[in-house]
């Protein structure tokens, strides 16, 4: 066995060749100067030598380029930081058993798309029985009670419905966002919950969506962020981990 190197480069067809491909558009008409400009950009991106393989005018004022080349940058694997899943992945059966044992009542989840976002694909993939990627959604879990409020729910309404349902967890999805609306909406939502609930009684706040940055949960005032490709089982397992893993003090048992 050879040892895995800690410093690597991109792989084209030979170890260490550093080959990458990029495509981009520059706002200049297609001519020799435009091609030179593309190569200049590739050089500044660390591609050396850079090979301009395709250039095409897109209308009178833009040019599209495809560039291949070897990047001079090195990747240091020992310096890579990622958020690894810090809870065990459970089957629906184990999730139900854990909730039964620890909570002795169904776990209540309230879900919604907040703000102007009308795209329920994310929340529906996690909550609806239909599920996502071959996994059934949380509605399928006998010990999870799901209240799906759907799209374009206002924050005060979400807080109200969460209180009514005595939610253990609130799931919010933000799919289509512009100008950082997902960040604004999420901080507004977490602040509203903190204001409406006594300290320590706020339901678990979970947000999901393709645009959230990993590791920004604290900054947004939520307990957990899930990104693109999250499956219902991961969410269910996390809920168990956070709410029903070990004897929890009375959480909304009123």
């Amino acid at each position: 066995m050879t040892e895995q190197p800690t410093v690597i480069r991109p792989y084209g067809d030979t170890t260490g060749d550093g080959m990458v491909q990029v495509s981009f558009t520059l706002p200049v008409p297609h001519d020799k100067r435009a091609e030179g400009a593309a190569l200049q950009l590739a050089g500044k991106m660390g591609m050396s030598p850079a090979l301009l393989v395709h250039a095409k005018a897109v209308g009178p004022a833009h040019t599209f380029f495809v560039v291949y080349g070897s990047v001079t940058h090195l990747v240091d694997l020992s310096a890579v930081q990622v958020v690894e899943r810090d809870f065990p992945l459970l089957t629906p059966k184990d999730v139900n058993a854990a909730i039964k044992k620890q909570l002795r009542r169904p776990l209540v989840v309230v879900g919604a798309c907040i703000g102007t976002d009308a795209h329920t694909v994310g929340i529906d993939a996690i909550l609806n029985i239909k599920g996502f990627a071959g996994e059934k959604g949380l509605e399928y879990y006998s010990e999870i009670q799901v209240v799906n409020l759907g799209a374009q729910v206002l924050v005060p309404e979400l807080v109200e419905r969460a209180r009514e349902a005595q939610a253990d967890a609130v799931l919010v999805s933000q799919v289509v966002t512009q100008r950082d609306a997902h960040i604004h909406n999420t901080t507004q939502m977490s602040a509203a919950f903190r204001e409406a609930y006594p300290a320590g009684k706020v339901p678990l706040l979970v947000v999901g969506g393709p645009r959230f940055e990993e590791g920004s949960a604290d900054r947004l005032g939520v307990d957990r962020i899930f990104g693109k490709g999250t499956t219902p089982a991961e969410v269910a397992s996390y809920l168990v981990h956070a709410l029903a893993a070990e004897p929890t003090p009375e959480r909304n048992t009123a």
């Binding site: 209308g59 102007t116 976002d117 512009q178 693109k228």
Partner: protein, 535 residues
């Protein structure tokens, strides 16, 4: 054979009795819903009528005057007689010198409305209302004639399917150069996506707008600006470039009226989409939809229905027949509202999981089934979205197969798929690559309809027959639903989650408080004029 003269699409051998049965069931399901639509009105239908009478603009808080006036009438005498009788009665009694002033006074509560009791006063108010609404209908007629003239002079696109491209920046002044660039690059139809959330606004925003979320607000001024820009580029290109927007959500009738007056050419307008996917009250939707379709029929606007949505939430193989059922219902409701087949852009989509064996053959079967069931409808063929994973290279291939299926099955309107679907809003280069994909397929295989003849008992024909028979089964099942008085089997089916697993009871959902049962004396001059004109 030149790619501009396309042979008719291949024939499927469908049992004509099954096809007839499907339409009979659709009619049986649709008729009681139409009865409900005809016996109710909504705030948005009434506001649309006032817009046709020329009431426009908004107060300093951007609340439109049509909203103020309808709310004012409603508080005092209710909606059940329609707003036009009390409004023109108030004008006759000189509560205000004109409609705008009346709306302004109504907003401060300083007008008194009544339903005139004397027969003479009642008919005078109705006559005045009819005279006031007529110019709005005439404006729609003039715009339709203008479109016919421009199409006559400049011509339609030389190829089929028409190439439909989306623009969505949020800022109308950014949309305009993008739309013109897209037209120059080959788009035949430009759709301006609406701002996320507009479907649930119970008013139509005013003026030119520069702030939208993942889309641009539909406003009368935005319509006018974009149509003018496309007229300019149409002249330059020598073909009429069509403009599309959305008559959906809580303001469907008003947006339809504005679209007619500003010469939009196609409008997204589905019979059940708002109910299922936006949780809008079913009765509100069917009432609003009927009025909006009457306007579209008058304006010569092609409606685009939203069957693609069923396939994005459910499995495209298992739910294939729900598309057929929805197309049949959309056809029934459209015909009832006066739309000819040539204006029915029934939708369907290429959404089968590419990992499924024979997925392309099934796509061909589904696309041919729609083509053959609705031979004269300009079918709208929607690209893959659900299985676009972010792998843009694989996505580009999938879009190529989508384009090929469109060419082989004789689709009419092709929404151009973007390889960056689910990644970013399309970049300039994404659109350019997508159009190259479409053009290559049209050039290389545009005449393939001539050679493509699926064998009678082969996979494609068998699959098409199976989907049709599943559609008939579903229609039978819905027809068998027990409906209490005042309801309809279709409404009960929507209520208990037959479509897309979403339960939408007829006494719930957004916009319910804007629905009123019509009284015996209900009058709406717009509906009267539209029905006189289209029948």
């Amino acid at each position: 054979m030149s790619p501009t003269t396309v042979a008719p699409p291949p024939r499927l051998e469908l049992d004509p009795r099954v096809v007839r049965r499907a339409r009979t069931l659709a009619r049986r399901l649709g008729r009681p819903v139409v009865d409900i639509a005809r016996s109710h009105t909504t705030v948005s239908v009434e506001r649309a009528t006032l817009r046709l009478a020329g009431l426009a603009g908004a107060d300093h808080e951007r609340v439109p005057w049509v909203n103020h006036l309808v709310d004012g009438v409603r508080e005092q005498v209710g909606l059940e007689h329609g707003v036009t009788t009390p409004v023109w009665d108030a004008l006759r009694r000189e509560e205000a010198p004109d409609l705008l002033t009346l709306a302004q006074k109504a907003s401060t509560g300083s007008v008194s409305f009544r339903i005139p009791e004397k027969k003479g006063e009642l008919s005078a108010a109705r006559r005045a209302a009819r005279a006031a609404v007529r110019p709005g209908i005439r404006r729609i007629d003039r715009q339709r004639a203008a479109r016919d003239r421009l199409v006559g002079r400049l011509g339609d696109p030389p190829h089929r399917p028409w190439v439909y491209l989306i623009v969505a920046t949020g800022d109308i002044y950014e949309d305009i150069p993008q739309a013109q660039a897209a037209a120059r690059a080959g788009a035949d139809v430009i759709a301006v996506i609406r701002s996320t959330g507009q479907s649930l606004l119970d008013y139509v925003p005013e003026g030119a707008t520069r702030e939208g979320f993942a889309g641009t607000y539909a406003t009368q001024e935005n319509f006018r600006l974009m149509r003018a820009a496309l007229d300019e580029v149409s002249k330059e290109l020598g073909r009429y470039v069509r403009l599309t927007n959305y008559a959906s959500g809580l303001c469907m009738p008003e947006i339809a009226a504005l679209a007619g007056m500003e010469r939009l050419d196609m409008m997204l307008n589905d019979s059940m989409y708002g109910i299922l996917f936006r949780d809008i009250n079913p009765v509100r939707t069917f009432v609003d939809q009927r009025f909006s379709r009457q306007v579209h029929a008058r304006a010569g606007i092609i409606i685009n229905t939203g069957e693609d949505n069923y396939l994005t939430t459910a499995d495209a193989v298992d739910a294939a027949h729900t598309v057929t059922v929805s197309q049949l219902m959309n056809e029934y409701f459209a015909r009832e509202a006066g739309l000819p087949d040539q204006l029915m852009g029934l939708g369907h989509a290429f959404e089968i999981n590419p990992e499924v064996p024979e997925s392309f053959r099934m796509e061909l079967a589904h696309a041919l089934l729609a083509r053959q069931l609705f031979p004269d409808a300009p079918l709208k063929w929607m690209p893959p979205t659900k299985h676009m994973t972010g792998d843009v290279f694989m996505g580009y291939l999938l879009d190529g197969f989508f384009n090929l299926a469109g060419a082989m099955t004789g689709q009419s309107i092709l929404l151009v798929g973007m390889m960056t679907e689910a990644v970013v809003t399309p970049w300039l280069s994404d659109r350019d690559l997508a159009l190259q994909n479409v053009r290559y397929v049209q050039r290389a295989a545009g005449g393939l309809t001539e050679d493509f003849r699926p064998p009678p008992d082969g996979f494609i024909q068998t699959r098409a027959r199976q989907v049709l028979s599943e559609a008939v089964d579903l229609l039978e099942r819905i027809t068998a639903e027990k409906a209490p008085k005042g309801s309809a089997p279709l409404l009960e089916a929507i209520g208990d989650g037959t479509f897309g697993l979403m339960k939408r009871p007829k006494d719930q959902g957004k916009g319910l408080d804007g629905v009123a049962r019509r009284a015996d004396g209900y009058d709406n001059p717009a509906i009267t004029l539209l029905e006189e004109g289209t029948r």
